[in-house]
Each structure stands twice: as C-alpha cells, then as structure tokens.
Assembly symmetry: C2
Homo-oligomer: 445 residues x 2
C-alpha cells in the first residue's frame, strides 16, 4: 500500500505500514511531526509522534531525505493542512541523509536543480512532472492498445537519416571501427520503418527515443527525446488529424483524472491558467485551417515578428506558430496543406502541385506539438521528389518497394513526447521534463 492509495480511500485505517523519505521534521520535546513521502504522489503524509515512542529523543536528528519505516493508524487530522495524519506506533530510521542533501524546504531554481539530475525528482515540482510523464506514457500505450494498434520498435541505429536533414549523430564501435561496414547514424524518426509495418498490420505505432545533433540551445530542443509515431494504412489526412486529436484528448483527460494533487500544485504555480487552458482544448472541437489562411492571419497581425516576411512559401517559425495558437485561436489549431518546398519528400503532393497533405498541430506555449501527413503513394512522384532533394534513391529502395507491394496509402504523425509533457504541465524548459536531459555541450551523469 502506498500513500496515494491510502489517502484515496479517505477513511480511517488502523495498522498501516509505510517506508519512505522525510520531507519535513519539526516539533518539540513532547511531540514531533514528520512528513513522509513515498513517491506515489506529491502529497506527503504527516506522522504524529508522541514522546512515548522509545526512540523519541533520536528523531529530531533525522534530516530531510532520510529513509524511514513507520507503522501506525491513519486518522482524521485534528490540525489544519491535511485531512488525514498518521498516529505513530513505531518509527525507525533506515538511512540517515547527509547534511549536504541538496533538496531542502526552501524553493530551488530550475537552474540549480539541473546540477542535481539524480536528486531533483525529490522536489514537488519535479516529482509532479515525472509522475505525469509516466502516466502520459502509459495512457498513450493504453490509447493505441484500445484502438487495436500494433506496437512496433523501429531501429535506433540506421543507415539513412530519414528526412535528409543532416542532423544525425554518427555511431561506431570504439574497439572495432566501421562496426557495421557502413556509416551508421542514430535515428531521427521511426516513420519509414513504421510505414513498412503499416502495410500488413494496418495500424501501428512506435514510441521510442530519437536523436538530433542540433546545436541550437533553445528551451524546446534536446539532443535526445522520445517520439510517438503512429502510422495507419488506408488513412488520409483528415483521418490522421482526427486520430491525433482523439489521442491527445483521451490521454490528457485520463492523466488529469489520475493526478489531482499534482495538477492542483501545477495549476497554482501557473496562477490557475494551466487547467483552464487544457480544458478549453479538451471541451472544444479542434480547429483546422489551411496554410493559406494561416498566412492571411499572420499578415494581419499587429505584432512584429522576428521573421517578418510573411507570404505564401515561408516555413512557419515558432513565433508564428505561437501567435496562431496563443494569440489568435487561443488554443490548439491544426494547419494543413503546407507548401511542399520545406516539407519532407514522402508527403502526398496535392492536386495543386504546390502543397502537400501535411498538418502541424500547434499549441499555446510550445508551437508545433505534432507534425504529420498523408504519405505519397505514387512511386514516380516519390522518385522525383527524392531527386529534387538529393536523397539517395538506392539507399531507400526498400522504402520505395513498399509502394509496389499492396500499398494503397497510409498516413501518420510524430508527437514529440517531451513537448506534450511541457504542454500538459506548463513547464517551459525541455530540460525539466526529461530525467537526464542531453543537449549540446551537456552530458551530465
């Protein structure tokens, strides 16, 4: 039994037994109050320890972070601040924390916490984020399971860099150079491999780490992050947008319902904007607009953009994406039918020959959360797009082969998992939603 489940029962229980860590220790010579946390929730349970327990005089020396064992009775609390407390029968120190334990009562800045990846999850803020991260993961798996998707693992080490973006990390064995007898890179997407499995399994998804050797040191870029990439045969653009919207709404709703204490804490931090904004999305149909319409909106914007040239053909930058979702639509919006010129070769070319059947789902605070498309099924168009972009056709022969073997089209998207966590928790820096983040010049622990 853990603290979350004990408190969820909302009833007095005799004979509870817990192990956990001290988050507060105060009192006097007659009574001591220890807060114990076991990681099941951010809520700590208050232990009330009377001077009749045999080791009472030792207890004041037990520092924050120490692990303890306790047995007692869960009773309605007579004091303010909590509904229940534990009347202690026996409490034992298991391991005393040294006095340089970095997590103490006072609030610590995110920057300082980033020097302590190995202990920062023992603060309320990181504890909330990591509990929610875990539940978001599980809810994503649950969603796809209920929708009869096959979970597949695209390879991490690949011989092609997927989108030809040239931002892939190189991999080799130190002892046996040229281990794979060819250039090996870390995957930037599992999509192409997932497409091959969609032809045969119909509905598949990947959920695994992806890598970008990007030098940009922004709040939303990391060298290593997790991606969710569903791919569905027989789906067209509107079907895959609906899937993205359904998935997001289901996953976010279920996660909120499982973490009332954590969301209360995060909502307070955000001055009660977080949950209001999330429910604004959850309770309303997703807006879908054409790229051309997005350009018109941006042209009319009174705000001055850093990238100030707004016309058909430009790639939207984060400031544009955020303007559209935060300022204009005041919520998530899907932009569709982007100009082909800055989009990947595998996207379905629309009848106008200028745009592709792609979508980006933009959310406030983040910009692009999801990017997806209907895939180009016509092999001759794929071939010419690859030539245009200088992608080695021979290298991707296996991928082109799919079109010859019963492929009547598929669609898919990529969700940056950490961006989802940021959107759902309101945390602004990607470094604070990954247990041990990796960015350019930073490889701690």
């Amino acid at each position: 039994m853990n603290i979350k489940k004990l408190l969820f029962k909302s009833t007095e229980i005799n004979g509870i037994v817990l192990r956990g860590w001290i988050t507060a220790n105060r009192g006097n010579t007659k009574i001591r109050f220890i807060d114990i946390n076991d990681g099941s929730t951010i809520t700590s349970l208050q232990l009330v320890i009377k001077s009749t327990v045999s080791n009472f005089s030792d207890i004041e020396k037990w520092r924050i972070g120490s692990s303890i064992f306790v047995s007692g009775n869960l009773l309605k609390s007579k004091s303010q601040g909590q509904e229940f407390e534990c009347d202690v029968l026996d409490v034992q120190l298991l391991s005393l924390s040294d006095d340089d334990f970095p997590i103490q009562k006072q609030e610590i800045s995110f920057e300082t916490l980033r020097d302590n990846f190995h202990t920062r999850h023992r603060t309320n803020i990181l504890r909330s984020v990591m509990l929610i991260r875990s539940t978001l993961s599980k809810e994503i798996h649950n969603f796809f399971d209920k929708e009869d998707f096959l979970y597949m693992n695209s390879p991490i080490i690949t011989s092609n860099d997927g989108e030809g973006a040239g931002e892939a990390f190189i991999v080799d064995s130190e002892a046996d150079k040229n281990f794979f007898l060819k250039k090996a890179t870390l995957s930037v997407t599992g999509q192409l491999h997932a497409e091959s499995y969609a032809i045969g399994f119909k509905k598949v998804y990947t959920f695994g780490p992806t890598f970008r050797a990007e030098k940009s040191n922004t709040k939303k870029h990391a060298a290593e992050f997790w991606m969710v990439e569903p791919e569905v045969a027989f789906f067209e653009l509107q079907n895959i947008i609906k899937l993205a919207d359904d998935m997001l709404k289901t996953v976010i709703k279920n996660t909120i319902s499982k973490h009332s204490a954590e969301f209360e804490f995060l909502d307070n931090k955000s001055e009660n904007k977080l949950l209001k904004n999330l429910w604004q999305y959850l309770d309303n149909p997703l807006k879908i607009i054409d790229y051309k319409e997005a350009i018109k909106i941006l042209e009319k914007a009174t705000i001055v953009f850093e990238n100030s040239e707004i016309k058909f053909g430009i790639d939207l930058s984060t400031e544009h994406e955020r303007y559209l979702s935060e300022n204009h639509f005041k919520g998530p919006v899907a932009v569709i039918n982007y100009p082909k010129d800055f989009k990947a070769f595998y996207m379905h070319l629309n009848g106008d020959k200028k745009t592709v059947a792609a979508f980006d789902l933009l959310v406030p605070g983040i910009g692009e959360l999801i990017g997806g498309s209907q895939r180009e099924v016509r092999i001759e168009i794929l071939n010419s797009r690859m030539r245009e972009l200088g992608i080695d056709v021979e290298d991707l022969k296996w991928y082109l082969d799919l079109r010859r073997f019963g492929d009547s089209g598929s669609s898919g998207f990529g969700l940056g998992f950490e961006r989802l966590i940021m959107y759902v928790t309101g945390i602004e820096n990607i470094r604070d939603v990954i247990p041990f983040p990796r960015t350019v010049g930073n490889l701690k622990m």
Copy 2:
C-alpha cells in the same frame, strides 16, 4: 472492426466492411476464393466471390500482397478449413502488388526472409512473432502499472558505460565533433539512472533500447535490443526474484490468452512442445538454487561441456545455463549468490565476502533471461569494488551520492526483452524477433 474481433464474436454478421491484403486467390470461372488478412491476427478470412459481382473477371489477376476493399456478410462456412467465411457483395482492388512480391504461398527460410525486413512480417511466422512482441510489451507496461511503478526513461546517450564492460558504442555529431565536450556512449543499461529514481519514487522501471558493440555473431546477441529494468527501493534479493517471477508469469499468461491463433500456429511448428513447456513454468513455483549447488550439478553432469573446467569461481556459460534449465531442472531456475569476481561492482557483497546477492534466471533454449541483484548500499564497499575493477570513482560520484541521501538499499533486474520473445515464441534466432535487427557488419534498411 478487424478480422480478429469479427471472428472472436463467433456469430454471423451482416454488412461487414474490411480493408486488407490478399494472402491467397484461387477459384474458377464461376466462383473465386480470396483470403484476406488485415494484420489483426494471423488468421485470414475467406472471401467467397460469385460470378455475379460486376468485376468478377478481373479478380483472378489480383496477386498475393495486393490491398483490397470488401463488403459482405459473415456467414458460417459450408466448407472445411474455417468456421466462418465472408459472402461478398462488393470487392475492389486498391493497389495491385507487383509480381516480385517476395511473400508467396510456399514457406520461405528465415535466412531468405532476413533479406526482406520490410515485408517479412507479412508471413504467418513473422506476423505471429510481431503480434506477440507487441502484446508482451503492453503486458509488461500493464504489469508494472498495476503494481504502482513509475515508468522512467533512463538516458540513451551517457558518459559512462555502466558495467565497465567496454562494449559501448561511441556517439558524436558528424558536423560538430565533440558535440557533448566529452566522450559519449550509447547506454548498455539504464540501471544506474533507474536506481537514482528508485530513491524517491520507490518502484520504478525502464523499458527502452540498449546497445552492445559485441562482435560475437551468435543467435542470441544483437547490437541493439530492448531491456526492461525495474528497480525497487527497500527490496532485498528474495523480493526482486519474486517480482521477476510474478512479472514473467503474469505477462506470459496474459499474452497466451490474447493470441490463441498465433500460439496454435507456433505450437504446431514446435511439435506441440512450446505451450507444454510454457505451462510447465506457469503452473509451478520457480526453483531457486545457490551457485554452489549449480556447480555440484554441473560437476555430476555426464555431458561434455566446451568449457569443461567446473569449479567454484567460474562464470557460467550458455551451455552450463542451458544444461541446468533444460536438462536438469527441465524448466526455469534462478541461480543466486554468484562469486563476486565476474559480477558488477554495484552488487551487494554477502557476509562470506566471496559472493554477491545476485541472481540469474535461466530458461530452456536461451540460458540467461534475466539478471538482477540486491545493490550494495555500503559506500566504502562500493568504493573499494570500483577501485578493484578500475572504474573511475569521480565519473560515478553522483551514483555514490545516492547512498548518502536516504538510500537504505534497493534491488532490480534486467530482462532482455528479445530473449523473452524467443522464449515465448520458440524462435531460435534473435534476428527473427526484432523488426529491423542490427548485428556486427549488418545494417540493412
């Protein structure tokens, strides 16, 4: 609706609609029989097409692998070989497969299939394996969710190689050499990072890819494979062995119950040994023996081992492990208390100062499926073990710090996920249970 769910209802249904791929096409000028598979199960649905459908004369040209759309009524079958069949009202070709589609009716060797990672999942054997792989994954997540574990992602790119085995891949950016300003390797284990999260969250697990630059070209080694690594604070050796046993039994039982068609197929392939052996494990308590007892059993074995020197102190090789599980115990067995000399530095040193509180769970056909241990909580012993093994203490200072901050011990294990799939499916080569396997000298697609 998919074929698996339609057939599961075991009742006649009017007005079904399906999209999928042709796995067989036979008949004459009056009637045609097409088998359609949609990837939900290995079972294909027989379509009965009478000459009254308008495009009847085209249908004989539809090759295996082509995608089609069909509508009709699901009726009790009058012929042998299937319980239900689909009486077709309308059938349309969506995409014709070229005639060099490698997957045809006749059985293809595993070796040949390995030239076709992108299409081999469209055979019954690989389709079974990948459906089971997906369900095993989901059942592992479900098991830990029910047991209140936090799912955490240990980093893939690390600056230490965990066990000091020296088999790590090196990572760097091609464009910006020394991207991380220090040597970066691909993770060989997520354990050390998981340990830090167990102190605070109590019960955590990782499930992600790990990497070994091993040159050994065996049936059970791959350069890239997935590992499940739970870590539980306050657990000792016997607790973590019980967790491993409970997890395996729950996950395997649930997977069998969800894949009757796939297990029937695999069981036939194994001459009905597969399910008998799995149930032998599922229905009996796990045997646990001391390493010393294992040595005695091996000494008495009449079989001649390649590694023929059997005495206290040797590391068990696969032939020894398989002898113990296959020949002697005829089922899984956990061996505990190994000599410290060939085990990792972080394992709890037993009172005899010679052995560590570690276990390996050995299974027939594979050898080691799981390896785990109680972790050493005494910082001075950790320090001296690291010095003995030449591991840089400064590099793992953060890990040693955990012991000073309320760590009263934890235990964990690592499950090689692909070995679990091999054990559960009876497939003998790890290359056939990974969608796109990576081994020394091999990086296809």
